[in-house]
């Protein structure tokens, strides 16, 4: 009948202690009970950027000016509010059920980002989109110029 009901052996207990002591000795910036680390990849994928919506360039091929513009764009995106999808709340999540970028339904707990026009998208989906075009995919409204000027004066 197998030994699924076997009592914990000393090995099991030591394993338990071992995993706890592992947690105490973590490298910087890692959270113990997070999802598994990224899968193994021979080479670190070189980030690809889009100086203009129609152009695709390796990070290593960007001009200095493009690098500055992209860094500014990343800075602006980080300024946009983000949250977690919760259909129960009264916010815009109540109405919007699907991320129009990936066409997938929002699921409770999904990381989302709000645009000034209050349209919401999956965080990863909209961040990718905004790197190419700094407008709302739904209403095409440019991301609030106020956001731009407040970022540049800081």
């Amino acid at each position: 009948m197998g030994n699924c009901l076997k009592s914990p052996t000393s090995d099991d207990i030591s394993l338990l202690h071992e995993s706890q002591s592992d947690r105490a000795s973590f490298g910087e910036g890692t959270e113990p009970d997070q999802e598994p680390p990224p899968p193994y990849q021979e080479q670190v994928p070189v980030p690809v950027y889009h100086p203009t919506p129609s152009q695709t360039r390796l990070a290593t091929q960007l001009t200095e000016e493009e690098q500055i513009r992209i860094a500014q764009r990343i800075g602006l995106i980080q300024h946009l509010p983000k949250g977690v999808y919760d259909p129960g709340r009264d916010g815009s999540e109540k109405k919007i059920r699907e991320c129009v970028i990936c066409m997938m339904d929002f699921v409770y707990g999904d990381p989302i980002r709000f645009l000034p026009c209050m349209h919401i998208y999956h965080l990863d989906c909209i961040d990718d989109w905004l790197m190419r075009s700094f407008t709302c995919p739904s209403c095409m409204e440019p991301v609030d110029a106020a956001l731009l000027s407040s970022y540049e004066t800081n």
């Binding site: 490298g27 910087e28 910036g29 890692t30 990224p38 193994y40």
Partner: protein
């Protein structure tokens, strides 16, 4: 200081800026720093 990584290990950062470690021999990845595992 922890000193150099053991042979075959590489330190990487994921898209969220979290540090993880890659072993090219066993092709595994882990959050824990191999140098602190004794």
């Amino acid at each position: 200081p922890l000193g150099p990584l053991p042979p075959g290990w590489e330190k990487r950062t994921d898209s969220n800026g979290r540090v993880y470690f890659v072993n090219h021999n066993t092709r595994i990845t882990q959050w824990e720093d191999p140098r602190s595992q004794g």
